[in-house]
Point group: D2
Chain length 338, copies 4
Amino acid sequence: MIIIMKPNASQEAIDRVTQVIQDNDLQVHLSRGHEVTIIGVVGDKTRLKGKNLEIADGVDKIVAVTESYKLANKKFHPEQSVIQVGNTSIGPGSLTIMAGPCAVESREQMMETAFAVKKAGASFLRGGAYKPRTSPYSFQGLEETGLQYMKEAREATGLNVICEVTSEHAIERAVRYVDMLQIGARNMQNFELLKEAGKSGLPVLLKRGLSATIDEWLNAAEYIMSEGNEHVVLCERGIRTYETSTRNTLDISAVPVLRSRTHLPVILDPSHATGVRAYVAPLAKAAIAAGADGLMIEVHPDPAHALSDGPQSLTFDQFEDLTAQLRPYSSLAGRSFS
Amino acid sequence: MIIIMKPNASQEAIDRVTQVIQDNDLQVHLSRGHEVTIIGVVGDKTRLKGKNLEIADGVDKIVAVTESYKLANKKFHPEQSVIQVGNTSIGPGSLTIMAGPCAVESREQMMETAFAVKKAGASFLRGGAYKPRTSPYSFQGLEETGLQYMKEAREATGLNVICEVTSEHAIERAVRYVDMLQIGARNMQNFELLKEAGKSGLPVLLKRGLSATIDEWLNAAEYIMSEGNEHVVLCERGIRTYETSTRNTLDISAVPVLRSRTHLPVILDPSHATGVRAYVAPLAKAAIAAGADGLMIEVHPDPAHALSDGPQSLTFDQFEDLTAQLRPYSSLAGRSFS
Amino acid sequence: MIIIMKPNASQEAIDRVTQVIQDNDLQVHLSRGHEVTIIGVVGDKTRLKGKNLEIADGVDKIVAVTESYKLANKKFHPEQSVIQVGNTSIGPGSLTIMAGPCAVESREQMMETAFAVKKAGASFLRGGAYKPRTSPYSFQGLEETGLQYMKEAREATGLNVICEVTSEHAIERAVRYVDMLQIGARNMQNFELLKEAGKSGLPVLLKRGLSATIDEWLNAAEYIMSEGNEHVVLCERGIRTYETSTRNTLDISAVPVLRSRTHLPVILDPSHATGVRAYVAPLAKAAIAAGADGLMIEVHPDPAHALSDGPQSLTFDQFEDLTAQLRPYSSLAGRSFS
Amino acid sequence: MIIIMKPNASQEAIDRVTQVIQDNDLQVHLSRGHEVTIIGVVGDKTRLKGKNLEIADGVDKIVAVTESYKLANKKFHPEQSVIQVGNTSIGPGSLTIMAGPCAVESREQMMETAFAVKKAGASFLRGGAYKPRTSPYSFQGLEETGLQYMKEAREATGLNVICEVTSEHAIERAVRYVDMLQIGARNMQNFELLKEAGKSGLPVLLKRGLSATIDEWLNAAEYIMSEGNEHVVLCERGIRTYETSTRNTLDISAVPVLRSRTHLPVILDPSHATGVRAYVAPLAKAAIAAGADGLMIEVHPDPAHALSDGPQSLTFDQFEDLTAQLRPYSSLAGRSFS
């Protein structure tokens, strides 16, 4: 931690700050520049919690030197993690495809979709049984009935199933039916939900919040991991910017940035990122080329009648065509479909 | 609802779209331009849910004409609402000041603060007993003990008390102790929490999400109201932008925009918006001048030792000085401290 | 300047960095933490230009301690500046109102508007003779003829006149007709234009770029000032964010932030910030309450027929009504109309 | 053009609006919904310029149906354009690589770099002779001497050369030395410069503004094209968002979005987008996979001593290694290095 003093900070002010640091058994390194004085703090800086040195007289600003996330941090766990879900390994060497409809609508829809996406190369069936919708008057999901359909599709096909959870109650239900929990963008900083997901023991796919920084996202992962559950996969799904041509702006740079900061796998969701079916294929290829460990893609037996997110869903034929196009990119990136 | 067809849309495509509309007992108004054809839909457009006309052949885009929120909508409730909390009226003619520390830390802190902010003109004591923190290793709040301290401060001073709730569990606890619930920015689209807050029957202060549009915010209010609880107050607390000089960017235009769209009261939180103590006074004045119904301001007996958000908190003296400065602005705006 | 080394930086890497610093006659202050080593650099850091220490082995990041703008910096010029234009003083104690149409359209329009805004309290007539328009097919301005009309209006009323310049050529023309140049948002980082405006010797109103940080804005002011022209006034006119309810998002916090960083006056433009006439009055009051030195407001004799920006323009009556409302806010802020 | 009336618009208001439309020889299509009335306008809507119907009584909003750019619009020019520069074709089937230092520093630097990037597969040498820098105290470029060095490097290697121009004066100079002009992000809406670049007749690389929407960008291209110069190539270089892990956020979705709206080629600049050398390779691969027609990449003989942008520059070896990695992605995308 580095404390930068104001140009006009008095000696008294500098002394007072260094006193606080030393009183908390930390070491001080003082640099006096010709314009400003800088105070380096050496030792466990959590001892300064609640001291609020930012507002002490003469202090200009404080710069943190180390990240607040530890378990998710590559510095303390340099090797890439592999997250095992059923017989699927998410991580280096594999390209994991999660596909399915935005919302679970019926048993037939899930069963049909499961067979279709499996045939095309997916290893996960996705589907929303609890839908966070902007308006209370939009379709809110089939809830436990939807989970039941997912489980049946899983038993019939051997696919892993993943479902978004939006409350403690939903987690309690979901653990009985699914292989992996999903925390959606709107709940990325619903810390109570993160803790419950951590306690569940199930692997968790953590989507990035609409306007979350990468560091906030890794801190959200830390919430799950600090409950003893290290099976976390990150999912970039577009961030909110001023540009309205796409529903969100896919931050593809997040892939190499995360690689440099965390050992957790990262997958991309081009369907939610763009909201436009025609943009899914080019961005899915780009995701693989950028180094992603997998993709989440919306597929629907009949997008023209989907209850939610139809415009961005692929038909079965389009999805099969897509995975065929993706295979050579995956090989080139040294990954095989898992 | 207006459907704009692509320039090259075939007659067949236009016919198919109009057929879907008519099959759902809605009326069609067709405008053929020299470049494009436009299809107006007249009637209850919820009948088209799940038809996904956006992806029908030949459709370019669909423009909504009416808002999805109804109970919060000024069009259907043109008079400004007054939200009554205890003996305080939030709304036209009043300027409601909510003040207190970011986090409840001790009985003494709350009691001392309550007397100080009451004396200076506040009608609400704020305080966080459940703290949503970016890192799991930061202080998380005193929980029920904190609520107990708030209740004691309320009994001693007659102030209303308001506390953020972050889970169904927290709501269950909070209803026993506080006068008003607060939903924080990170939970603005935690729809399960919104519904529970709606069911609680207590008045709710709904903070704007970090990157929520004004329409998403009003839809979040609609979630609470659609549970039968119309006692909602909106709180602008800064949005996330590229500018880093302030913690967030206070969107002061939200005040007149909300006035034109909703009958619900709106208050501003300059403390969280800026994160800098010196900016609180100018922005508090600006908020009143822009037409806000109230202010939420962080006050702490000893900001230099606050466990959370010290740099933006005012001391008791600073707060008293601030309210003295605000009174003439409040009078000019036709409001009296409530 | 502070150099933060990576946790695993070798002694060799640390030595190499300190060597570069010392080779350039700067002093090194080394702080060895238990996780990282920090190297403080003392002395004139411009000597390190082109050394690119950011990419030296073992370097994690570099933190600047001082701002790159000097002439605009409050640290080296603590007193608020007053910019004199004709008989008008822009700065402490004054509230300067600049009003007029977005675009100069005709002699009658300018003359009529000049008398109307003068009567209502403005001291500047604004008007665009060179219009930067998103589409090449939109009206581009009357150019020198427009400047001529402005000058005539100035002679008839005694108002100061201000006009946006968009090229070196426009500056050459404008200096013959107007009292103050305006650099628009789209040209805030058109550095050649800034230098020319600096050389012109005329006072300059520098609008903030659409997505410029406050520090970039102050550096743009520095471009003008470093040509020997210190007569710069800053104008906040809204920044680009994800919110679409207003054309831009007025960053009202910029007023107190600028106060803490620069001695230059700052005015606000609520017309361009919102693009909506009904929002101009509440935001103009807010601007004064926040401490602004003035306002720029669009006024048009017949907004329903304006060639540009009609929807946000006020009629003469509306403007007169507005200034009447603003006077008590101005008094309260300790300012008189200038 | 569609005019949406307010729910309470009077018949008189509706009549007045339709009258204005008909008075301008346009046709009206009226749709009366149960909540609102919608007025479709059929015909050449430029006739309504300056009528400002947005603020007519009873009007809620106006929705544009067609884009304002025509020459750049795919609707009127459905085939992908190929831009020929010397013996290089930018467009379908080709992958054009432009490489070189951010700033021209010396004859040796340019000559050495030219040979190195040519050997690795580039067909363009880039280099900045006129540098737009945030601070007036940063290195501003070698100007005409720099152009001279570029021309010498071009003659020695046969590479095309491209240089950013920042003023009319710079264009006058550059046309004598270079094959293609570059308009930088900060000048994307410097409309005078765009017009001059159009008049120059040289092919133009138009970088996207820091916070320009895709439609604003295409309108900027239209400025160049409307001067009779249709040789425009677009370059995505990252947009400004709240995320600070990368210098800008590369909007890779811009590639498929542009493909659907314009016939102009698009290239990506991963160096400026991220500002971090380690992120260049993954994003360059992603750009090709997403369908880009080329790449602009910073290469420097000695990045540790570059006068500008060292941290994101590749060494010659790194660049050669990169192009070797890119070739199979290029083949997979059906493109050959040009």
